[in-house]
Subunit: 380 residues, 2 copies
Amino acid sequence: MHRVVSRMQFKVLAKDGAARRGRLNFARGSVETPAFMPVGTYGTVKAMTPEQLESVGAQILLGNTFHLYLRPGLDVIAAHGGLHGFMHWERPLLTDSGGFQVWSLKEMRKISEEGARFRSPVDGAPVFLSPEESMRIQRVLGSDIAMSFDECTAYPASEAEARASMELSMRWALRGHRAYYAGDPPGALFGIVQGGVHASLRAASLEALEAVDFQGLAIGGLAVGESAAERRAVLEGLVPSMPGHKPRYLMGVGRPEDILEAVLRGIDMFDCVMPTRHARNAHLFTRAGVINIRNAMHHKDTGPIEEGCACYTCSNYSRSYLRHLDRCGEILGSHLNTVHNLYFYQRLMAEIRAAIEGGRLAAYAAEFHALTGQGSRAAD
Amino acid sequence: MHRVVSRMQFKVLAKDGAARRGRLNFARGSVETPAFMPVGTYGTVKAMTPEQLESVGAQILLGNTFHLYLRPGLDVIAAHGGLHGFMHWERPLLTDSGGFQVWSLKEMRKISEEGARFRSPVDGAPVFLSPEESMRIQRVLGSDIAMSFDECTAYPASEAEARASMELSMRWALRGHRAYYAGDPPGALFGIVQGGVHASLRAASLEALEAVDFQGLAIGGLAVGESAAERRAVLEGLVPSMPGHKPRYLMGVGRPEDILEAVLRGIDMFDCVMPTRHARNAHLFTRAGVINIRNAMHHKDTGPIEEGCACYTCSNYSRSYLRHLDRCGEILGSHLNTVHNLYFYQRLMAEIRAAIEGGRLAAYAAEFHALTGQGSRAAD
C-alpha cells in the first residue's frame, strides 16, 4: 500500500444519536458538515457566480469529470492551472469520477475489465475511461476530493448481477487508488460502496474499500429507482459499520426530507441537481412544500416566495415578479429562483448542524416533517 | 397650457464645442450626462440584477411601455406601486411610449387620428393605444421620464408622407402633454422630434414641441435604416436650434462610435439594446473592435476579453472560459458577457464626460476612431 499524503482532515465535533456534526479542512478552506454541495457540471453552477454561491452559504461545489473532459477538454483546464482557476472558485471542489455518467449512456457504452469505451455525446468521437484515466483527469482538474471510478449497479439487479458489478468496481477502486497516490496528489480520494440493495454485498464492498484505506467513503448506486424504504434499509445496514473517523457521502441525494433522513442515519455529505434544476423549472422550495411559480395564483401576489426567508430573492422580489420573469423566459428569473433554492438547502444544512450541536435533531426532524406534510397538502 | 410641476432638473455643467457635460436630478438620484441607458424591456435588463447594473455604472434604465402593458399588465405593476418596486430598481427610470413598438408591428396595426389599434403579439387580444392611454400607462409605471406617444416615420418616406406622419405625432404630443399634466405627474415628459431626414420638417416638429414646453426633447425616427451621413445631417441641422437648457435624447442609438459622434453634436442621452443583445450572442466590445467569443481562436486563451478592463468579468475570467460557457449554453455566459459589454458602454460614457470637462473631446474622439479603425481590421 502507498503512503497517503493527507491533504484533507476530518473531525467529528459533536454527535446526536447516529448524526454527526463535523468539519472538513482543506488548504482552500473548511467545510462544515453535514454539508450540501451544489452541482456545477460544466464548471459553473447554472445561473450563479462564485460570489453568489458563497453568499447563499455554499462551501464546496461538485464538478462533473465526464462533462468537463468532453467540454472544454483537459488541455484547456490545465492551461488555467486546474478547475478552480478556470471557474474562479477558490474554495474546495469535489469531482465525481465519470463512472455514473458513463453508466447513464446505457447501450451507447461498452464496459470491460479494463474500463469503459463510448462515443462522446458531444461530437461522437471514441472515448475510453478507466480508473487510471479518471484519476489522471481528476488530478489535472485539481479536485480537493476525487472520487473512485466505479460502475453504478443497475436497479433492479439480481444478487449475482449486483455482486459482479460491485466486485468490478472494487477492482477498479484499487487500481484508481494506486494511480491517484502515485506521485503527489492534489487532494483526497474517496472510495464508493456499491452492492445495490443487498446488505451482504454492501458489507463486502465496504470491507474491500477499507482494506485500501480511502480518506472518505461514499455510498453509490442509490437514488437510481429504488424505494425510499430500500434506501433507508441500505443506510441502516451499512452506516453503523463505516469507520467513525472518515466522512460519509451519500451521492446524488436529494430532496430535503431525504437529506434529513440520511443525516439522522449518520451521513455527512450530499449533492443533488434538484435545487438548481427545480429553480430553472419554476419549482421553488418552501417549508410548506414546493410551489410552482408558474401557477396563475401567483399572478398578482406581491409577497415573497416564503415569508421570513432572508435570501436575496425573498428580500427584494415578489412571487408576481418571479412569475412574470418565468413567463417572459428572462434569464434573471432562473438566477433569482436558483438563489432562493440554494439558500433554502444551505439554510436547511445550517439548521441541521445547529440541531445536532444542541442534541435536538430528532425534534427538528419531527417539526420539519410535520410542516412539510401539511405543506404537501396545501401546496399548488 | 398646464402648469408643469418640475420633478426633474437639468443643468449643463460644462461645454466643449457643441458637446455638453450635464446632470439630471430626480428625487430618486442624479444622472450624469452624456448618459447611456441600458434597456430593460420586461422590467429586467436581461441577465443582470439591479445591484450588478449599479456596479457597472448604470444610473438610469429604460423600460418598454408596450411590452410591460401586455406582460405582466398594468394591474400587476400597480399592485407593486409602480415599475421601480416591481423590478427592485430604486434609481431613475425612463419609459418609451409604446409608439415605436406599435409602428414595428407593420401590417398588424391600424393607425388613425385617434390612436393605434392592434392585436397583442402575446395572446392576440385587441389592444388600443392612444396618447392619453400611453400617458395613463406611464403614470402608473411611475416613470421618472415619460415619452410622448408618436408615430415613427418610415424610412424611406416622401416629404409628403413624412410631413403627414410628423404632423400626426405633433397633434398626439399635444394631447399627451394635456393628459400627462392633468393631475400630479410622477415625472417629466419629453417630446419627440420627428420629420424623417427632411430638415424643414424636423425644424417644424421642434417648433411645434417647443410651443407646448416639454421638459426634455428626444430625436426619434432615426436608426431605422437611414445612412450614417443622413443621420449626421439631421443632427447637424436640428440640434443647434434645440434649446440649451433642456436635455436632448437620441433614441435607439447605438454603436459606441455613433454615440461619440452624437455627443460631439450636442446629444446628452442614449439607449440601445446593442450591448446586452450582443452579449447574449457572444459579441463582446473592446477598444479594438467587437470580438466573437465563439471563435475557435479563443479556445485556450487564458487572457481576459480586454487587457486593462476593470470589469468583474475581465478581472476574474478568461476568454477561454467565456467561450466554453457559450458553447455549453450556460446562463452564466450570458451574464458575464453582459457585465462586460455594459461596463464597456458605461466606461465609454465616463470617459466622454471627463473629456468634455477637460475640453479635449475632439482629441478623445480622434484617438477612439483611430483605435477602433485599426481594430476593425484586426478583429475576428
